[in-house]
């Protein structure tokens, strides 16, 4: 695209401020410095943010895609992607639910999702009137009283630029890795949370409440800051499989926990995994990292990963403050041709820091499921402790489970434990449950949920129930 065309587009002006009118605003595919500037200008961003994006973009040009993960996919053509707001083309969207993959609809029904929401999730070209708008409004009022900021990332850029400038890239630097750097250059939108000193957020913050409000797109950016003595529990995602025509997703999530603060971040990731032959699934390359920046801080990640054709994701914790605590509880389930390479990094810098890693990998079909984890104990991290447990469950004989634990300890006082098991769902277990009258599906679901119990019980209650159902549904047809 020529500079003139870009300028023409920019010059059109924005009567809705920085909110994009998705029906008319499109820019052609491809990535160059002008596109990065255009994104920033369209969003009416302050200069520091443009500079952040440009630094990232220029750095990205010097990088190459990582190849160390246990993943295989055709090369991604970064010039074939549209980098602005990922507008949904209504022309290509299904006109009604009749045109949507019946498999997907069946899953929605099993999850008990109302028709309106089904249309929205399946990307049907209708103007979804969404009931939660009013809910979200009352919800926001309540948070405001407490001084809690919970809004879209773009909104935060305009309302609280000083917080963004201070914290953006402070946990995941713009140069961190190929996908995080790409995200830093072109991120579209995401969530921003700020919990003031001494405030315990009284409700679970969920992106679900704004799912209709923001089209966060493929390059999502989330930043959560918990000031001294504060607490927040944040839920991300949705159990319903979400369709998206953008195949590449590269999100960045940064968490900052200050002194005595605690952040609990729960994810249910169920992006479209592709069909039985792996066609059309999402590539999910995500960088999630939290920093316990001061003493006695705590960051806990819980994730249920059942979606995407490819999952590349290592929610990590930098344990900088003394006595700080990092936790990672994960269930990663792959079926058909899905591939997951996921795990965590626990970086112990402070004294008496502790971390816990519980990872449950379930592989079915012809899928590949890898746990990759790093526990690093720095020289000054006296009395650091880590406990790691990695369990893999295999279903059938065409899938693979892999465990890649890395340990680097530079301090002799460290205590590190690692346990790993690999098991199969046994015919004996299945026969036992079926003899008691349970269907094959229910039997598998029960065994898998039992296997994942340690992780599921870390989820907020309402999420846990849905996640249990989801695990069963994701494995349908994988046995017998």
């Amino acid at each position: 695209m020529s500079q003139d065309t870009i300028n023409q587009i920019i010059d059109k002006g924005y009567k809705h401020g920085f909110v994009t009118d998705i029906e008319t605003e499109t820019i052609p595919c491809g990535l160059n410095e002008d596109v990065v500037r255009l994104i920033s200008q369209k969003k009416n961003e302050p200069e520091f943010l443009l500079n952040f994006r440009l630094k990232a973009y220029r750095h990205w040009l010097t990088m190459t895609e990582p190849t160390w993960a246990h993943l295989h996919h055709p090369p991604i053509d970064y010039q074939a992607i549209s980098y602005y707001a990922a507008p949904k083309s209504k022309k290509d969207a299904p006109k009604s639910l009749d045109e949507v993959d019946p498999e997907l609809l069946r899953t929605y029904e099993k999850l008990g999702i109302p028709l309106k929401e089904q249309e929205m999730l399946a990307g049907v070209a209708v103007d979804a009137v969404f009931d939660s708008v009013s809910v979200a409004t009352t919800f926001k009022g309540k948070l405001k009283e407490l001084g809690i900021i919970f809004c879209s990332f773009s909104e935060a850029v305009h309302e609280h630029p000083e917080l963004i400038e201070q914290y953006l890239g402070s946990v995941v630097p713009y140069s961190d890795n190929y996908f995080a750097t790409l995200n830093s250059a072109v991120f579209s939108d995401g969530s921003f949370v700020y919990i003031p000193k001494g405030v315990k957020c009284p409700m679970e913050l969920s992106t679900y409440f704004r799912i209709n409000a923001a089209n966060t797109g493929q390059f999502e950016r989330t930043l959560i800051i918990a000031e001294e003595d504060s607490y927040v529990s944040y839920l991300e995602g949705c159990t319903a499989p979400m369709r998206d025509e953008n195949q590449l997703h590269a999100a960045v999530v940064e968490l900052v926990a200050l002194k005595n603060a605690s952040i609990k971040y729960s994810t249910v990731q169920n992006w479209y995994p592709g069909d039985k032959d792996g066609k059309g699934g999402i590539y999910n390359f995500v960088t999630k990292r939290g920093e316990c920046r001061d003493d006695n801080a705590k960051i806990s990640w819980t994730q249920i990963e059942t979606g995407s054709a490819i999952t590349w994701k290592y929610p990590s914790v930098i344990l900088r403050g003394d006595n700080s605590v990092g936790e990672f509880y994960s269930v990663a389930l792959t079926n058909n041709l899905q591939q997951a390479d996921t795990g965590t990094k626990m970086i112990h810098l402070g004294k008496n820091t502790t971390s816990t890693i519980i990872s449950k990998g379930i592989a079915a079909g012809r899928s590949q499921n890898a746990y990759r984890g790093l526990v690093k104990i720095a020289k000054n991290a006296e009395n650091a402790r880590n406990f790691t447990q990695c369990d893999s469950l295999l279903m059938g004989d065409k899938c693979g489970a892999h465990t890649f634990p890395y340990i680097e300890s530079k301090n002799k006082s460290a205590k590190l434990e690692h346990e790993a098991t690999t098991s199969k769902i046994s015919d004996e277990q299945l026969f036992y449950l079926r003899q008691r009258g349970l269907s094959v599906e229910d039997s598998v679901s029960m065994i898998v949920n039992g296997f994942c119990k340690q992780v599921l019980r870390k989820l907020p209650m309402e999420f846990a129930v849905e996640a249990q159902k989801l695990l069963g549904i994701s494995l349908e047809g994988s046995v017998g």
Partner: protein, 247 residues
């Protein structure tokens, strides 16, 4: 009524059952005895529909319906219950969760509503008292870390909840001390009823001291070699299986 007709079963191309005939009427308790490897457990598993058993001849009929083409869960729905010789551990699954799922699966087939949590808890506690089981049984993982006696009692508990039409107890007495044996026998006796058939598969006579069978069958080399009343069991206890074999 259970009717087994000329049943031949292969496992890995090896002929294990070689023509079993057996009729168990409602209200009757049949004991099947016999030496190790005689095919007793195979018979139990085949009736319940376990995979890996190849029926080459004959039929298994429950109330005029052949079971052979049915899945294990379909057979369970018809009222077939197998108390396992080695109850299987299901890590991470609370016992109460399995009990409730099993009962509700059955209720669903009967066209009944699912039982709510409160009602279910009342019912299961009542059944547990009869088996002298502690409440904490409910919240432990299915059979995980259970002692031998606890596992068997748990099987009986499931049976009393599901109230099957045909109950097959595979070596339920093995691994039980005398107190546990009495409790388990008590549970079985409570389940005796005019519309229920019970098959006790056992190696030893001692369970039969507490549960009086109507018939005793001696299994050997894949066949019923001799049938009689409870006195046959006593006879066996005294003279051993060898005497039967040579007859």
């Amino acid at each position: 009524m259970l009717k087994i007709e000329n049943l031949h079963v292969n496992v890995d191309d090896k002929n294990i059952l070689k023509g079993v005939d057996l009729v168990v009427k409602p209200g009757e308790v049949h004991a099947i005895m016999g030496p190790n490897g005689s095919g007793k457990s195979t018979l139990s598993n085949v009736i319940a529909g376990k995979e890996g058993y190849d029926v080459t001849q004959g039929d298994i009929i429950l109330d005029d319906q052949s079971l052979l083409e049915l899945t294990p869960e379909e057979r369970a729905a018809l009222g077939v219950f197998l108390s396992f010789q080695y109850p299987v551990e299901i890590p991470g699954v609370n016992n109460i969760y399995l009990l409730k799922a099993a009962l509700n699966a059955k209720r669903k087939i009967q066209g009944l509503e699912e039982m709510d949590a409160f009602e279910f808890l009342q019912l299961v506690k009542e059944k547990m008292q009869a088996l002298k089981m502690d409440e904490d049984f409910l919240y432990r993982d299915v059979n995980s870390g259970f002692s031998g006696g606890e596992k068997k009692r748990n099987e009986i508990l499931q049976m009393t909840l599901l109230e099957p039409k045909l109950a097959i107890l595979d070596e339920t007495d093995s691994g039980l001390d005398i107190d546990a044996l009495k409790i388990v026998a008590d549970g079985i006796n409570q389940l005796r009823s005019p519309d229920r058939s019970i098959i006790l598969v056992t190696h030893y006579q001692r369970l039969l001291d507490y549960v009086q069978p109507d018939y005793v069958h001696v299994f050997n080399k894949g066949k019923i070699q001799k049938s009689g009343d409870k006195n046959l069991a006593l006879e066996l206890e005294q003279s051993g299986y060898n005497t039967i074999e040579t007859k």
